[in-house]
């Protein structure tokens, strides 16, 4: 277990909101995925993916679209 899922989702949604200068989810999700890939520990990405597997509908559309672009979910 890594950083609590609730906190990770909140952080990921903040990243998404701050990169969402346009309504084009394709553009935004690519930026979100790049950010998470560059700056997050893989354990946090993995935990986010696990959460999304259970609660995908609670995530914003752009964040949902970013998830398949995350690299190396776990180790």
């Amino acid at each position: 277990m890594t950083v609590a899922a609730g906190k990770l989702v909140r952080m990921a949604e903040q990243i998404t909101a701050n990169l969402a200068h346009t309504d084009d989810y394709g553009i935004v999700s690519a930026k979100v995925a790049d950010h998470l890939n560059r700056f997050w520990d893989p354990r946090m990405r993995q935990a986010l993916l696990e959460y999304a597997g259970r609660e995908a509908n609670s995530l914003s559309p752009a964040l949902r679209m970013a998830l398949p672009q995350l690299r190396d979910g776990g180790e």
């Binding site: 277990m1 890594t2 950083v3 700056f39 520990d41 190396d72």
Partner: protein
């Protein structure tokens, strides 16, 4: 040649008047028959000094404009009548100057005779004995008798003013040369001193003839340095006498990075005097760097390593070998039980580049993971992200001196007169010459309205609306056609600019749409934007009021966008300038302290870069980012992160949401703290490795202008072991040997592996004093201005900056917004400054509150106020003031028992997790006793003090009591009164 204990320098020379502006044509003249060529605009006095001719002087000094009052530097000039003062007479071609004639000798002797007729003759017991210009001049002019006698009217009975903590004022010894008054005006820009009275009654006065401590004096020490007699004298010199040697080193307080002469008697530091040749400070200083060094030898210093199994046990004093073996065993044990990634390390912005570098190397190479972060996480990490994204380099663009070419200063979320005082003085000098100022700050900082400085605009925004402001300014620039299209076309990515331009032009980014959220009129926002865009040279300076927000990174992007859009980058007088909080924030970031990148801001995933480190370090490195500090704490609470090596960082006081931090530290199996003192975090530690003050170190600091300056050992480590050696020995004990012989070898490795540092070495620093990176083959002596021909990333990148309001907003339950900051006399968590006389200036953190908010709550100035947020509750004393706007509270965080961070929350910058210290929704109400947290804090502090006691009895001198505070008594008084 390594920098070392024995790098002593001689006395500072003084050419009498300042250097003229560069670029003037050379003028040739003769002084006492000696031909000399000097730059035009120089004084005759300076020319004489350059020719090796000493002209007697008292009111003249190289640090101040010529004044011409003492009449001692008189000379004769061929073809001119009379005896002009050489300090106020400029050189002219063909001049023939005589400095020694019988007539001049007579005149000078007469002048000295008058001075000495009203001066105590206690030279042998005077504190200036050995360093008195009056004494020297009496000798130089051959004064042998005072024909007037000593019986007449005089000033010899004037009482001393001992009120200032660090220096004494003895008006009986004053010769009214005005050097102190001029230093206060010209160097410091505070205008606290004046000459009151006329003629014989003339005297130096602080403010309205008040004691220094009660006056506007900020104790920068400029007057003390300027004084030619014992009138203004450091109390440390009064106590110990004149220093006998000096070492040039670099201050360990704020990010200005002032150069100082540490003046010593043997190993005793007698005083710190700002170095005239220091390129960041040009001979100026502030109260902290100049005077607040007593912490280095404070009785609370722990000088022996200590260990314990749990934080409920007493500390045991052990030798270095045992401490290091224990640390290595425990860290290895955790990795065996919980995995390689269950531990990490944190580097400190207060440590040297070399010390920081070995800690991040230790984590990556010896621990085998990337769980390394630095305290810049909680201050300037958004600067790194924002400037790297837009300009290509995570650093400020200018040198400090560039401000002297600026026409308009846009100052955002920074309070330089308190937090970066020496740079503030330079800024004030430029403002008093006519540059204009826009202040963006929720609070009326001093620069909004102070002597000879008044901001044209104070955009008094509501906390949390920075991005709205920067978008409104940028919108105005585009809307009104004020952009510099030629610059944008040649220097920036055109497609990205078009995207940004379309975004920023949207009506939602207009001043009219955002004015209500910001709390400033649209017309004022537009006028400020016009002033900035049309300035000619406009420069942005910013501080933690920009970065410590949930949109801190967006704001940094926005700042860079605005500068690019108006062409304000790449030359003198412009730029984007983060003011760094601590001495080595820039350096700690440069050294590869962030979990995702190597030194020089290169991402771990870059296989070529990683390959170079792997080859040099002889170990395979993890290509994926590790945890940031807040991630480490969250993971600790989740039971997954178990051990931490902490270099000079005090999370338990400085990081937000204190109770969360306490829980995280308590959840770890092994916390290793390396620090000068048993700080708040050390109360949760299992191993304590005593560190060294900057006076005990060889190394380098990098200031806010990317200037790498030498730190030189002036005394041996009190602990017996250099800090970098501690890390190296720990690494070696964990199976990854590090065996440098000297910090210069660490710097050589940094230079070898980091392109921006390629040309750097201790030899170069010893030769040129200091160097601004990049320092490489293309810039062998460094780079004062960045992005001159092109941006580091090639073309500048405009990043869209949507305004996403913080989730931390006022509600019915928490209707006020709390923001935080610093005061001049204290430094960050106060671990150093609270252990100096500086506590006299700031014994407690106060809660600033607008009179309207105070009145409705029944709160009066000085009463106790409960402050509660969703994170916690604390109690502070009120300071009712209209410096803050209604609805906004402000406090400082220098005293641990204040618990300012008990109330700050876990909300953080979206891109970097830099905490949102600057916005916390709170309620405030009158109370009569400390908060529950404060009661708990006190019990815990008392318990930990007891656990440290056996060590103290053994001689290590450990004390856990919060240093030097008036708070405890204050709270108890409040209780008694209730």
């Amino acid at each position: 040649m390594p920098m070392s204990l024995y790098y002593n320098v001689g006395a500072e020379s003084d050419l009498g008047t300042p250097a003229p502006d560069p670029g003037a044509a050379t003028v040739s003249l003769k002084i006492d028959g000696i031909p000399i060529a000097v730059p035009g605009g120089a004084s005759v006095l300076r020319a004489a000094a350059l020719a090796g001719v000493g002209v007697p002087k008292l009111c003249a000094t190289e640090d101040l404009a010529a004044f011409g009052s003492c009449r001692l530097c008189l000379v004769e000039i061929e073809g001119r009548k009379g005896y002009p003062a050489s300090c106020t007479t400029l050189v002219e071609a063909g001049m023939e100057v005589r400095t020694q004639t019988p007539r001049l000798a007579e005149l000078r002797r007469n002048v000295m005779e008058l001075y000495i007729s009203d001066h105590p003759l206690d030279c042998l017991t005077c504190s200036a004995n050995g360093d008195c210009e009056l004494q020297d001049m009496a000798g130089a002019v051959g004064l042998r008798e005072v024909r007037y006698g000593y019986e007449g009217a005089n000033h010899l009975d004037k009482p001393k003013d001992q009120s200032a903590p660090y220096f004494a004022f003895d008006p009986a010894k004053c010769i009214v040369c005005s050097r102190c008054v001029r230093a206060c005006e010209e160097q410091q820009g505070t205008y606290a001193l004046t000459i009151g009275g006329r003629g014989f009654a003339s005297e130096v006065m602080a403010s309205q003839n008040e004691p220094f401590a009660a006056s506007e004096c900020v104790s920068c020490g400029a007057c003390v340095k300027a004084c030619p007699t014992a009138t203004l004298m450091e109390k440390s010199v009064v106590a110990h006498g004149q220093p006998e040697r000096a070492v040039i080193t670099t201050c360990a307080y704020c990010g200005v990075g002032c150069s100082f002469r540490a003046e010593l008697q043997g190993d005793r530091l007698v005083r710190m005097v700002p170095d005239r040749n220091g390129k960041a400070n040009h001979g100026h200083s502030c109260v902290k760097g100049r005077f607040a060094f007593g912490y280095a030898t404070h009785k609370d210093r722990v000088t022996s390593p200590m260990i314990r199994d749990s934080i409920d046990q007493p500390w045991r004093k052990v030798g270095w070998a045992q401490a290091i073996d224990t640390a290595a065993q425990r860290l290895r044990g955790i990795q065996e039980r919980w995995g390689r990634k269950a531990i990490g390390g944190v580097t400190s912005s207060r440590c040297t580049n070399e010390e920081v570098y070995v800690v991040q190397k230790f984590v990556r190479a010896a621990l085998g993971n990337n769980n390394v972060d630095t305290c810049a996480r909680v201050c300037h990490s958004p600067t790194g992200y924002g400037l790297k994204t837009t300009l290509g380099e995570s650093a400020g663009t200018q040198n400090f001196d560039s401000v002297m070419q600026t026409d308009v200063i846009l100052l955002v979320g920074a309070n330089p007169t308190e937090a970066h005082p020496v740079f503030a003085s330079l800024m004030k000098r430029r403002l008093s010459q006519g540059a204009q100022l826009i202040v963006v700050d929720p609070r009326a900082i001093d620069l909004v309205d102070s002597p000879h400085v008044r901001a044209q605009f104070h955009l008094q925004l509501k906390p949390g609306t920075n991005v709205a402001v920067i978008n409104a300014l940028a919108h105005t620039v585009i809307d009104e056609g004020l952009e510099d299209e030629a610059f944008i076309r040649s220097r920036c990515e055109w497609d990205a600019y078009q995207t940004w331009r379309a975004f920023i032009s949207e009506p939602r980014n207009s001043p009219e749409a955002l004015a209500e959220a910001i709390g400033a009129p649209a017309a004022q926002l537009r006028a400020a934007a016009r002033l900035y865009a049309k300035a000619g040279n406009a420069a942005i300076y910013y501080g933690l009021g920009v970065t410590e927000h949930s949109q801190g990174s967006t704001m940094v992007l926005g700042i860079a966008n605005l500068a690019m859009a108006t062409g304000n980058l790449g030359r003198e007088g412009v730029g984007v300038n983060p003011l760094r909080g601590q001495n080595n924030v820039q350096g700690a970031c440069d050294m590869g302290s962030f979990p995702h990148e190597f030194s020089g801001y290169r991402h771990l995933s870059d296989a070529v870069v990683r390959g170079k480190f792997e080859a040099d370090w002889g170990v395979q490195l993890d290509p994926k980012p590790g945890y940031r500090i807040p991630n480490m704490f969250d993971a600790a609470i989740a039971g997954e992160f178990k051990g931490l090596y902490v270099q000079g960082e005090d999370f338990a006081q400085s990081d937000p949401d204190t109770q969360h931090i306490y829980a995280a530290l308590s959840a770890m199996e092994c916390v290793i703290v390396q620090d000068l003192f048993l700080n708040e975090t050390a109360k949760f530690a299992h191993i304590f490795l005593p560190g060294c003050s900057f006076l005990e170190k060889d190394g380098t600091f990098t200031n806010a202008e990317r200037r790498i300056s030498p730190v030189r050992k002036v005394m041996a480590p009190l602990t017996g072991l250099d800090e970098w050696r501690i890390t190296c020995r720990l690494s070696t004990a964990m199976g990854y040997p590090m065996d440098y012989r000297h910090p210069s070898e660490i710097m050589d490795e940094i230079a070898r592996l980091t392109p921006n540092f390629q040309g750097l070495s201790y030899e170069l620093l010893n030769e040129v004093g200091s160097v601004q990176w990049p320092c490489n083959a293309a810039a062998p002596e460094g780079t004062p201005l960045m992005h001159v021909q092109e941006f580091v990333r090639g073309k500048g990148y405009f990043a869209p900056t949507p305004y996403v309001p913080t989730e931390e907003r006022s509600t019915a339950r928490y209707p006020l917004l709390l923001t935080t900051g610093r005061v001049l006399s204290q430094y960050n968590v106060g671990a150093q400054t609270r252990r100096t006389e500086a506590v006299a200036y700031h014994r407690e953190d106060r809660l600033e509150m607008h009179p309207a908010d105070a009145e409705v709550r029944g709160i009066v100035d000085g009463s106790w106020v409960g402050v509660k947020s969703r994170a916690g509750e604390t109690v502070l004393r009120a300071k009712v003031t209209d410096r803050v706007q209604p609805g906004v509270l402000y406090t400082t965080f220098h005293h641990p028992e204040s618990g300012a961070n008990v109330i700050t929350t876990d909300n953080s910058d979206w891109a970097t997790n830099c905490p949102e210290y600057k916005v916390t929704a709170v309620q405030a109400y009158p109370v009569s006793k400390p908060s529950e947290w404060q009661e708990m804090f006190r019990r815990f502090a008392v318990k930990q003090e007891r656990l440290a006691a056996p060590v103290a009895a053994g001689g290590a001198g450990a004390s856990l009591a919060p240093a030097a505070t008036g708070r405890k008594e204050g709270l108890e008084t409040a209780k008694a009164e209730s």
